[in-house]
């Protein structure tokens, strides 16, 4: 998931009886499957939690361009380069759809950007890991986009209209991302011994961080419970992680690669795989900003924002001048 550990009100879910009439009417609309639109009344907590979640999701798409952008100039063929370029451009587009959805809640795009740049808002932990070889482009598409899809598909039914509509567009494009990743993995896994070793190494490094994308077990988190009552979180973290493992394990087998988990085993009784939890200490450390690439990612985003300031200002000045000239001519 591109939004992890999003805090909600932290006050637990109110029963319908505890709500005032306005809030009860709102909750009843959600229970009935209605979509909430920007101008509708909504509880302050709903608005705030959504801004946090959609904002974090958007930031993840934007920062997520960096690990893959890293390989555009070194893609092995012109075709691979064109494909990767298209994929990274899509991520920029996904970020834009999501920022637009967040803006309908009353926050501006510049405010969201500034909150990312000064560390008040987060992006997904996964993008703090380095992409060391070309095989990592395969692993990122296959595993990282695969994990994102698990979460984004149900979010197409989320209660907030603009968010749900952004998700529909994103899901249409995301499937290309995962398949292009798997295509790279197939090529590498069936290549020379060195290529196969690179593919296995990429899987080894991205497996744990991919499982972490879903976030730690919800347990009795009041934040998750509230978000689920509002239908801005559709499934539990463990549930989605299980789905991801069940989908991915046979794909790894097809590739002839080994998932780095000795305990991974099909469990007939539960109809799913048993698997080991990732290193949650590492996850919390990365979330705190100590990921291997965290400093580089923030530096790159800050540099892009600062270096682009004169372009943003210049274009606005030009537009103002043209508008003034047009008015004068009328």
């Amino acid at each position: 998931m591109y939004a992890q550990m999003v805090k909600s009100t932290g006050q637990g879910v109110k029963s319908l009886d505890e709500m005032d009439p306005q809030e009860r009417a709102f909750q009843e609309r959600i229970n009935a499957g209605d979509k909430i639109e920007p101008k509708d009344w909504m509880p302050a907590g709903y608005r705030k939690t959504l801004i946090r979640q959609i904002g974090q999701h958007a930031h993840s798409e934007i920062v997520g361009q960096l690990p893959e952008g890293n390989w555009i100039t070194r893609a092995p063929t012109l075709e691979r380069k064109a494909i990767l370029l298209a994929k990274v451009q899509d991520e920029a587009g996904h970020g834009l759809y999501l920022y637009c959805a967040a803006e309908t809640l009353g926050v501006t795009r510049d405010e969201l950007t500034e909150m990312l740049l000064d560390g008040r808002m987060k992006y997904s932990s996964i993008f703090n890991y380095p992409t060391l070889t070309w095989a990592d482009m395969g692993a990122v598409g296959w595993l990282v986009d695969g994990a994102a899809i698990m979460n984004q598909v149900p979010l197409q039914r989320t209660s907030y209209g603009p968010y749900a509509r952004a998700m529909v567009r994103i899901c249409k494009e995301e499937s290309f991302h995962q398949r292009q990743g798997f295509d790279i993995m197939m090529k590498m896994a069936n290549g020379t011994t060195a290529q196969k070793r690179m593919a296995q190494d990429a899987l080894n490094r991205f497996w744990g961080p991919s499982l972490m994308m879903f976030g730690p077990s919800d347990g009795d988190s009041v934040h998750s419970a509230q978000s689920m009552a509002w239908k801005i979180k559709m499934n539990g973290n463990d549930e989605l992680r299980q789905l991801f493992v069940d989908q991915t394990a046979p794909q790894a087998e097809y590739l002839g690669l080994t998932i780095p988990d000795e305990t991974l085993n099909w469990n007939d009784e539960k109809g799913g795989y048993d698997f080991a939890q990732p290193d949650w200490d590492e996850f919390f450390d990365v979330l705190k900003g100590n990921g291997p690439e965290a400093a580089n990612r923030m530096e790159a985003r800050n540099k892009a924002w600062d270096d682009g300031a004169w372009v943003r200002d210049g274009m606005m000045a030009h537009a103002d001048k043209k508008r003034a000239a047009k008015l004068a001519a009328e």
């Binding site: 639109e37 101008k39 759809y97 943003r312 200002d313 274009m315």
Partner: protein
Amino acid sequence: MTKQEWPLWEIFIRGAHGLSHRHVGSLHAPDAEMAIKNARDVYTRRKEGVSIWAVESSAIVASSPEDKGHLYDPADDKVYRHPTFFDIPDDVGAM
């Protein structure tokens, strides 16, 4: 640091020849020309459209949710506006 944020534009796309333009989302651009260019990059990367409209968001007038009642209620008791209100005998044939 930029002080003046680029204005927000609502983007409408004609999906195919013969269809009407449909709202697809919004974006920021300094002027109308750039709004069209950005819309091309953001919303038609996979041939989703044959024509683009860009309208500054601030120029859009919308009904408010509270109007729901008195704007639409008058239609509630006028079922005779629908063709299915009238029973036409089968003998008459298609109508």
